[in-house]
Symmetry: none
Subunit: 212 residues, 4 copies
């Protein structure tokens, strides 16, 4: 469809930084056994490095999650930015939602492990991560609320309570994405996204069917 946002970060073409190797190993184990059931030893075993090496790159397990959360936010952020910058001013809103959903799904698919882990356990890692997750969630709600408020003011969508609507939408979408990642949803991803967008288009009084 479009050129996707590029990841220019891990520059040296060859291999991941050892910090990344450790992070990925850690996330895999976190998913398998749960964060609190994971011992440093499990991580270094999966990463195939010595025990001391872990401490060369991270102070403790939480720091790994911290880095992972930052990565995740950055990736999602890049996607959202890209969508906003490339959205056609006079495109149908439903189409915009649909492409946004597709881009997000793609990004999530590329960050599956981090995504699953953060959704599942992020809140329970510890107070500092909990705070960051909460803040991030409310940040997303705020963004959505602002957009909705503008759209309502412009008469582009039905007038509803912008904050409540945002929470309903973000809450629902997050759950949809989560259960999709978890494999709890059998339908094809394109169907899933289309039906999800149709649901919220209906909520907002957009005549989705026109385009179908």
């Amino acid at each position: 469809m479009h050129e996707t946002p590029v990841n220019n970060e891990s520059n040296s073409s060859k291999s991941l930084d050892k910090a990344d190797v450790l992070m990925n190993a850690a996330l895999e184990v976190f998913l398998e056994k749960g964060f609190h059931q994971t011992r440093i030893e499990d991580i270094i075993a999966k990463a195939k490095v010595g025990k001391g090496t872990f401490y060369l790159y991270y102070k403790n397990k939480e720091e790994v999650v911290d880095r992972c959360l930052e990565n995740f936010r950055r990736e999602i952020g890049k996607t959202l930015t890209w969508v906003h910058e490339n959205v056609n001013e006079d495109a149908d809103l439903t189409d915009v939602f649909l492409s946004e959903a597709k881009m997000l799904a793609e990004t999530l698919e590329n960050n599956q492990i981090a995504g699953k882990f953060l959704f599942r356990e992020g809140r329970a890692v510890g107070p500092s991560i909990d705070k960051k997750m909460s803040d991030y969630y409310l940040e997303l709600v705020d963004m959505s609320e602002n957009t909705l408020a503008l759209a309502m003011a412009a008469g582009l969508v039905k007038k509803l309570h912008p904050r409540v609507s945002s929470m309903c939408i973000i809450g629902g979408v997050v759950q949809i994405f989560y259960h999709w990642l978890e494999g709890d949803i059998s339908s094809d991803v394109d169907d899933l996204l289309r039906e999800t967008v149709r649901f919220y288009s209906s909520s907002l009084g957009l005549e989705f069917e026109r385009g179908a």
Copy 2:
């Protein structure tokens, strides 16, 4: 509004079972410090019993959560049952949703601590609780899906994908309730519920405004 469902179980109003005393103490500490950061000693200190006493009633911390989850499901179940049994056959659907929401809010308020804790950390307690939580969530989605499918077939609500719609609704409602419990939402609870119901009524093509 109506007579609320009665709890005839813990008979004599006076003395909680010591298992309950321990559970409540445990939940309070879980909320304060997080499940995995809580030591048995924290629990027995809050419950004002000796260390061995804890093990007279529970095998470990997880078992407390298990009991708590069962309690929670039972309470929510009682509420949902009551609503279904007391719903007026020809009542406006929007009104039904609103009363259901109010009843649930009341039940949640009565089980605040358990609710907050389960939402926050349930998935991270351990694999067995994780499984139960997942199953419970999907059970709720199933229930909702069945109801929606019937309503759609009867032409009472707009035709959408019933499962996706259910997940959007349950996901959003759960988030709304969670953030309300967490105190992240400033609005008055009645407003909140009304606006939430208005959002989903709109999704389903119900003319909420009539009743407003």
Copy 3:
């Protein structure tokens, strides 16, 4: 053959003292799980009494063993005394040994559980029981030594080192009895005893075959 020594002790014809009920229950569990692996709770469960009741009769597990050891010594003592008192002055020594062996076997059979337990674990119960067991063992060796020394002096048996001979005999006989109780020996008990006596008769230069 002869009237056996009578147990006039547990007088009241009806039932065991509760201390005995507890001791027997304890010994059974000791045999099943080992002394140190046995908890007071196992004992009172087998004895079908309340937890506090145990402490009405015994200060701790060791005291049960102590009582058991005293019982055992008394029973063996009664048997040895009876043999000595009823031995025919001019009987063949081999015959004397054989009837002594038979009486002891009978007594051991009547005190199987105590016997097995004491042989197996007596030494490991604790220092005080260990001491008593050791002393008892050496007491038996002394008795045997005295008898042998007399018999050697009287020319009734071959001249050997009386103490070493006693230790060889007591050591071997104890092992024979132990493995018989444990069921490690398949032969008929009469054969076993006869062969055992034949072995030691041979050691002492008694012509066992005459009587066979």
Copy 4:
């Protein structure tokens, strides 16, 4: 007398394996306080290592005994093998017994602590060690029985019941050695062994006196 069997195993004379250091420390404490009265902390204190270090080498106290028992069997085995390989075909049987006894006494003296501990408490450590001890004992009896049966068939020793004789001999010898290790026997070890062999030579109809 002869070159003794060499221990080529723990190669460089200097540093015991830390597992051995721990085992020796453990055995010393076991002897002092008894196996079940010994806490891990006693062992690591004697071994002068940190608490965690113990668990680097053993899963628990029982595993130490297991290793010790294997060692012990190996040492005794090496001695028996050496005796069998170096026995002079036409040597007097009594002489063979005497040298065997001396070799065993030497081996036991080199493994005093393990020997005392295993004799005293081996059976009471736990079911798995109990089984191994029992099996080992019966293995020794079997070996002795086979040898005796051959000797009886060849007319080298008096015809007696081979199994019963073996049990008498092994049982007695074990006791003799045990009480010697325990210091319960005052006589000089050479006297002790000579008298013991004289006793069993007499049992088997060997004219020990010839050689004396």
